[in-house]
């Protein structure tokens, strides 16, 4: 009798174990199914996103490959910017030719990749290397000069470049002597970490140099005009003195 009872107890344990295992499996199956379902969903999302990315990439490729697909307004703007470079470079040639007046001729090398420094395309950097012809420079110590020229153009619109405000200050301020005086006065000021501005002792700031493209937002903010300007080297009569 006790053997039968033990056998029965044993079978019950087995049944309990099976039931527990089945129960555990059922629960884990649900979790697994949920995870698989989530993966399916994520896969669907990924597929949708990939298709969209491909479509966008294709659209971008197509727009790039079709050169004429640039909007006409943008193209006109590009041509206008190119015209500014052309006009400024010609003006630069004219004034430098007049400034090199001491010698008969000079050789100039112009960098063919001018750099536009503002979003309006009105301020350009040129790099020019001036060289006196060998025949004229035998007795000269300095035969050549390398200039970087920051050229700006104003077409009647309100000037946004500090350089223009600075340079268009009173005629008196353009005098070289006054520039030197102003340089002396700079010693009163405490230099700030921003190289384009000076801090007065009272915390007031004055801008000195034209802001760059990165700071183009700052250009929009009205700022105090510079009280002095760089020297007018045109008053030196010619650039030959520098080379």
């Amino acid at each position: 009798m006790p053997d039968i009872l033990q056998e029965f107890e044993g079978q019950r344990d087995v049944e309990n174990h099976r039931f527990t295992a089945k129960l555990k499996f059922d629960f884990s199956q649900t979790a697994l199914l949920e995870k698989i379902g989530a993966m399916h969903q994520l896969n669907e999302n990924l597929r949708t996103l990939l298709a969209q990315v491909d479509r966008n990439a294709l659209a971008a490729e197509t727009s790039c490959s079709k050169a004429s697909s640039q909007p006409p307004l943008l193209l006109k703007r590009t041509i206008k910017d190119i015209a500014v470079i052309r006009n400024l470079s010609q003006n630069l040639y004219d004034i430098t030719r007049r400034s090199y007046s001491e010698h008969e001729s000079h050789l100039a090398y112009l960098n063919l990749q001018p750099h536009v420094t503002d979003t309006e395309g009105q301020q350009i950097f040129f790099q020019i290397y001036f060289k006196r012809p060998e025949s004229q420079s035998k007795n000269s110590v300095n035969k050549s000069t390398l200039f970087s020229v920051h050229s700006s153009f104003q077409d009647g619109r309100e000037s946004r470049g500090l350089i223009l405000r600075g340079l268009q200050s009173s005629p008196k301020a353009k005098r070289s002597s006054e520039y030197c005086d102003n340089l002396k006065n700079l010693s009163q000021f405490r230099t700030s970490t921003d190289p384009t501005s000076l801090s007065l002792k009272g915390g007031e700031r004055r801008d000195l140099m034209p802001r760059t493209t990165q700071n183009s937002q700052i250009l929009e903010v009205p700022t105090r005009s510079v009280e002095f300007s760089p020297p007018d080297i045109g008053r030196l009569q010619n650039l030959c003195l520098l080379s």
Binding site: S105, Q113, F125, D232
Partner: protein, 242 residues
């Protein structure tokens, strides 16, 4: 290298400006002393092209460098056309210069091209092209010169060398005019640089097949920009991506 960018120009010595005008201002900066060392080591594009034809010891110009240079020159042509910087010369590869080149380098970097221009007190009339055939057949001399430079860049040799090259037997003729050589080479330049490049060369040679040949007209400038500059930019982009 020598390229002074807006982030660093304030480090240079400001000299001032010349002739303040209401519309224009040119503020001059004197470059640093170390830039002068780079300026001493200069070479013209013609010289570099001639060097690259030397079978042994010649310096190699990588394809992407040549393509980038062609794009830069096309863009510069549009930017400086009609100005005295380019207009006073028949601009050729001998007018285009590179500075800071190292003698011992096998690969030539063609970044930062310069153009030379003589600044004289008196402006002389422009010199004419040498051969009559070319003079008669070209529609726009400025664009023809650009086409020739692009052909020279593609074949890595000056035009006079290309005239004599045994590789171009079909074009080989020392007495042939510049026009006829350029026209023949323009038909096969695509094999070297791709069809986009070839189309650009043909566009320059035949002035975009446009009845308007005056590049000062904005319509032609727009065609120039969209048909050539944008396409070369795209080609350069594709090459970099590959």
């Amino acid at each position: 290298m020598m390229q002074m960018r807006n982030t660093s120009y304030m480090e240079h010595k400001c000299l001032g400006f010349i002739e303040s005008k209401p519309c224009y201002q040119h503020l001059f900066y004197l470059d640093k002393e170390d830039s002068y060392e780079d300026m001493k080591q200069k070479a013209s594009l013609a010289y570099l092209l001639r060097q690259s034809t030397v079978p042994r010891g010649g310096r190699h110009m990588p394809l992407h460098e040549r393509l980038s240079l062609a794009k830069a020159l096309a863009k510069a042509a549009l930017q400086f056309q009609g100005t005295t910087w380019l207009h006073q010369i028949i601009w050729r590869s001998s007018s285009i210069w590179f500075f800071g080149l190292q003698e011992d380098q096998d690969v030539v970097s063609l970044k930062n091209p310069y153009v030379d221009a003589e600044m004289k007190c008196s402006v002389e009339p422009e010199s004419a092209l040498t051969d009559m055939d070319t003079q008669e057949r070209i529609k726009n001399r400025f664009l023809f010169c650009l086409a020739v430079i692009l052909i020279e860049i593609a074949f890595e040799a000056p035009l006079d060398v290309l005239k004599q090259s045994p590789d171009n037997s079909q074009c080989r003729n020392e007495t042939a005019s510049d026009w006829s050589i350029a026209a023949k080479l323009s038909a096969i330049v695509g094999a070297k640089m791709g069809m986009t490049y070839q189309e650009a060369v043909v566009d320059f040679l035949y002035c975009f097949s446009s009845p308007v040949t005056d590049l000062s007209k904005s319509d032609l400038q727009m065609t120039f920009y969209s048909n050539v500059v944008r396409k070369l930019e795209r080609l350069e982009y594709d090459l970099r991506k590959a």
